[in-house]
């Protein structure tokens, strides 16, 4: 409350009546002090900046959160860089800080869900996931990305197998298993992974973020979908957390000076620096590097089985007509197969599916990690296949979506005894949040010998045991490339 000189003087004289005889002197002192009041260099933007911080704090930590001390080390009086940098720096770091307490709800918000990594399976009604053979069920496209990730040198094996035309004649592989086919007894338990879609309250708290850039209150409720944070320094690891998917992936951001190929400006340079066979690491070495990274990162790998190295590049090298110009992969993957209900998981094409660590050959270090996600599932009963001959037919073709060209010459690959497993398949939806990620009981057959003269390098054949899936006789596999047919037509003419 502002006071006039007069009122302040009267107040003083009331406090000390002996000063009444010096009223004018007292007034002079009071006036001098009032006139000397210093300006305080108030910065209006500061009020909004701090408000943004407080809103974040209220949104993340709640009113009486014990963890709000997270912020205090940052706001020590000698740490001024936040406000020097403006709201953007502050907002970015506070978003990062929310990772430390992502589950604290904003007052009044629904409680965020626990994202525990341990497997939880919730039984639901039979056939709860709809048709397994839905029209938009992932065929060649669903597993392609994973297939291509494996081999540095080759491409997706499905397309390659049907489209590569060996000199002389067109061949396809017939997979032969001579033993008994163990059929399931009783209903099949199919699993569907549930996206946790964690209700991360940072979305509400972000209303204060960068308040000078946008009026967040003009928009509806906000929620955090994903966060990307990166270490500082060269060759830093970058982490991507997807709150909708419940997944974490890691990528190493190599500095240009760490990669000789980044320095190249001409083909001769690339040729000079590319990897040679002698540079490649043994499977034991890449597994050791992958394990060390997982252990050092504190990643719980208990949901995954013993690691395997999809070394397709070795098969491609073996079959490559010109080994001197063969491209050796810069990164080799190690897959720790997911174990669901104690069974290993495979992709439809036969690749093990699970926690994958990419090992950089040059630096002998982990360069990536993905397929690490929350293990929450529903379980629903589906009808099993009861006719072993239908299973053999699918084995013969090499599993789901493999098309048999009647004009092709068949060459045999021998299969070993099957193991019970689960086949992962994704039914895609234009709204990706409605994609169904299903795990269907299957048999997985190891390939024990490959036919000579083909480009086949598959190690496993996976055959699902759900009756609906075996009904898909022509599962969407594209016919061979058109260039094969005109040649046949020309020959016929």
């Amino acid at each position: 409350m502002k006071h006039t000189v007069h009122s302040l003087v009267e107040e003083l004289l009331e406090l000390e009546p002996s000063l009444r005889g010096r009223r004018e002197e007292v007034a002079r002192v009071v006036q001098e002090l009032l006139d000397s009041r210093m300006g305080t260099r108030w910065r209006p933007a500061f009020q909004q900046e701090l408000l943004a911080v407080l809103r974040m704090q209220m949104g993340v930590a709640g009113k009486e959160a014990p963890h709000s001390s997270f912020f205090f080390p940052i706001f020590r009086m000698d740490s001024r860089f936040f406000f020097a940098g403006g709201g953007a720096v502050l907002g970015a770091l506070l978003v990062f800080l929310t990772l430390g307490e992502p589950w604290a709800p904003a007052p009044g918000s629904p409680q965020p869900k626990e994202l525990a990594l341990e497997e939880t399976v919730t039984p639901v009604a039979p056939h709860a996931f709809g048709s397994l053979a839905a029209k938009d069920a992932g065929g060649a496209g669903a597993g392609d990305a994973e297939m291509r990730m494996q081999a540095g040198g080759g491409g997706g094996g499905v397309a390659m197998e049907s489209m590569m035309v060996p000199p002389g004649e067109y061949t396809q592989t017939r997979y032969v298993f001579e033993g008994d086919i163990p059929l399931p007894e009783g209903d099949l338990q199919v699993y569907r992974r549930i996206r946790p879609d964690a209700n991360v309250p940072a979305g509400d708290a972000l209303r204060g973020f960068a308040s000078g850039m946008l009026d967040w209150s003009s928009f509806g409720p906000l929620r955090l979908q994903n966060v990307n944070v990166t270490e500082q320094g060269n060759d830093a690891y970058s982490f991507f957390v997807d709150y909708l998917e419940g997944s974490l992936s890691v990528n190493r951001m190599f500095a240009p000076e760490s990669r000789p190929e980044f320095q190249c400006k001409d083909p001769e340079c690339y040729e000079r620096v590319r990897l040679r066979e002698s540079d490649m690491l043994s499977d034991e070495e890449v597994i050791r590097i992958a394990r060390a990274f997982i252990d050092a990162s504190g990643i719980d790998a208990s949901a995954y089985g013993e690691p395997v190295v999809p070394d397709d590049w070795r098969q491609w090298l073996k079959q490559s007509p010109d080994k001197t110009s063969f491209y050796f992969p810069e990164q080799v993957n190690v897959v720790f197969p997911l174990l669901l209900d104690g069974k290993p998981v495979y992709e439809e094409y036969g690749n093990p599916f699970g926690l994958t660590v990419g090992v950089d050959v040059r630096t002998k270090s982990a360069a990536s990690l993905y397929n690490h996600f929350v293990q929450r599932y529903e379980q629903s009963a589906y009808a099993p296949v009861t006719d072993a001959s239908r299973v053999r037919d699918l084995i013969d073709r090499g599993g789901m979506y493999m098309w048999r060209d009647p004009s092709a010459k068949l060459v045999d690959a021998k299969l070993g005894a099957p193991q019970e497993a689960l086949m992962r398949m994704v039914q895609w939806d234009p709204d990706y949040t409605k994609n169904k990620e299903l795990y269907v009981p299957a048999l997985v057959f190891p390939v024990e010998s490959w036919p000579e003269g083909t480009y086949d390098y598959r190690k496993y054949i996976v055959v699902p045991l759900a009756d609906e899936l075996l009904n898909m006789q022509d599962g969407g596999m594209p016919r061979p490339m058109p260039f094969v047919e005109p040649a046949a037509e020309e020959a016929a003419q």
Partner: protein, 185 residues
């Protein structure tokens, strides 16, 4: 307009907007209070930030029957100012920028340094308690009850300190006046 105590209760009940209202109501006065004692904008902003974050975290400890929210807030700020200077100059045991020696390596805003030069002479000879009392009353317009709360003393003691400090200032001002008359322009 809602009383501060009502807003505190509303915030405790889950109404974040209530805390925002308290913040908007008091942030400027807390800032001015801190700036007067630090003479440096960035330092003042840091301390004010800490003040409100501590207030947010410690809102459960505020008791409306023992004092005002404004007083409680300013006391937090004052303690943070004292901590700041004790950390910077542990050997000097100073509580605010007024007592900084002339050669102190502590950031202060240049124009403020010029401005305070005039009154530093008046205020430097006082104790921090005396200085706070006078400035809180004359510059910040706080009541004696609030000053007592901020300084952790009684209202009667505040009034006593205030009137004695003004008397002391009166004498100092007289000396300055004489010096200005005697010194050539």
């Amino acid at each position: 307009m809602q009383e501060d105590s009502s807003l505190v209760e509303a915030f405790r009940g889950g109404d974040n907007a209530a805390f925002e209202a308290l913040y908007s109501r008091h942030v400027r006065s807390v800032y001015d209070f801190v700036y007067v004692r630090t003479h440096h904008r960035q330092t003042a902003e840091d301390i004010v930030s800490q003040t409100f974050l501590q207030a947010l975290e410690g809102i459960g400890s505020f008791d409306a029957e023992k004092g005002t929210f404004a007083g409680w807030l300013h006391r937090i700020a004052r303690n943070l100012v004292v901590d700041h200077f004790r950390r910077l100059r542990p050997a000097d045991s100073i509580e605010d920028a007024w007592d900084l020696p002339g050669d102190a390596d502590v950031p202060v805003d240049a124009d403020t340094a010029l401005q305070v030069g005039k009154i530093r002479t008046l205020l430097k000879g006082m104790s921090p308690r005396q200085r706070d009392t006078v400035l809180l009353r004359l510059w910040h317009g706080r009541s004696f009850a609030e000053i007592a709360e901020i300084l952790g003393t009684s209202e009667a003691a505040c009034k006593m300190t205030y009137k004695r400090t003004v008397e002391k200032l009166q004498a100092a001002l007289l000396v300055l006046l004489l010096l200005s008359i005697l010194s050539p322009a």
